[in-house]
Symmetry: C2
Subunit: 167 residues, 2 copies
């Protein structure tokens, strides 16, 4: 392995266990103790839906602010969980950076991968939750077709109850 | 990286440069000098088309034998090229095994990945040549959806003229 190379390993995380398993797999299988890699966690925050009714906004500004807060708390919670996993399962020296962007995860992830010149993009096979996937199609399929760098698609084994990345 | 683990890295090779680039990428980015990994090269030999005409076989047995020989020579040539790459670019200790099966590459690769309990499947994004892809669809997409293990899909950069795996 070309340990001297500083690689940028972009890992897409979301609220699903599968993305955490993908992160764990990367920490166990891509990161070497002697490497000089940076894990870049990316989270695509879904755009706020502006709920309207015929006579104006359906929700009060307070309610919208509350919804925004929930979305931000969810993003923070996911990123903290991922960072903790990097500290506990990765080599001590692994650097971690974070990208949080609002938008369709397909666009957010593909644009970031190209922009930062990622060496590899890692993601769960679903990539963005059960409900959204039904509407958006597979995020991982889209990214595999559209980003320039190698894409590692990790599935969580059905028999595994924890995101250890080992079998 | 869990260096002590003996991983089986299944790499699908074909006549395209992209699969050789995927192999090269794996040698540079997945294999550690202290790991105990086995690279398993898999080549899916397309089934022989039995050419027939209304009054019997279109080709003589000699001609069919000659076609078979060409297909076997192509398979040998691809595998030898891949083995040479493993020797030259990989760590000296990397073990190499070979699987050659006849059939639709989608079935051959997915079945082998599950049968040998591969730790990761590596393939080019096209996976089986330009012409066949038009009929079969993307082999890599199919495999990403159907195999149980993580799938690494590697694209050959457009600017790269050699399969070095480095940028």
């Amino acid at each position: 392995m070309a340990d001297a190379k500083e690689r940028k390993i972009l890992v897409a995380v979301d609220e699903g266990l599968e993305s955490m398993y993908a992160l764990s797999w990367s920490l166990h299988n891509l990161i070497s103790q002697t490497s000089n890699d940076t894990i870049i966690l990316i989270y695509a925050k879904p755009p706020r839906t502006v709920y309207t009714s015929p006579d104006g906004y359906l929700f009060s500004p307070d309610m919208l602010a509350s919804i925004d807060k929930c979305r931000n708390d969810l993003a923070s919670s996911i990123i903290e969980k991922a960072k903790k996993m990097c500290r506990e399962q990765g080599d001590n020296e692994v650097k971690v950076e974070v990208i949080i962007e609002t938008g369709d995860p397909r666009d957010v992830i593909c644009q970031a991968a190209d922009k930062i010149h990622a060496d590899v993009l890692v993601m769960g096979s679903h990539g963005y939750g059960l409900i959204k996937r039904a509407f958006l199609g597979s995020v991982s399929n889209h990214c595999a077709q559209n980003v320039k760098c190698p894409v590692l698609i990790v599935k969580k084994p059905k028999s595994s109850s924890s995101a250890t990345g080992t079998k």
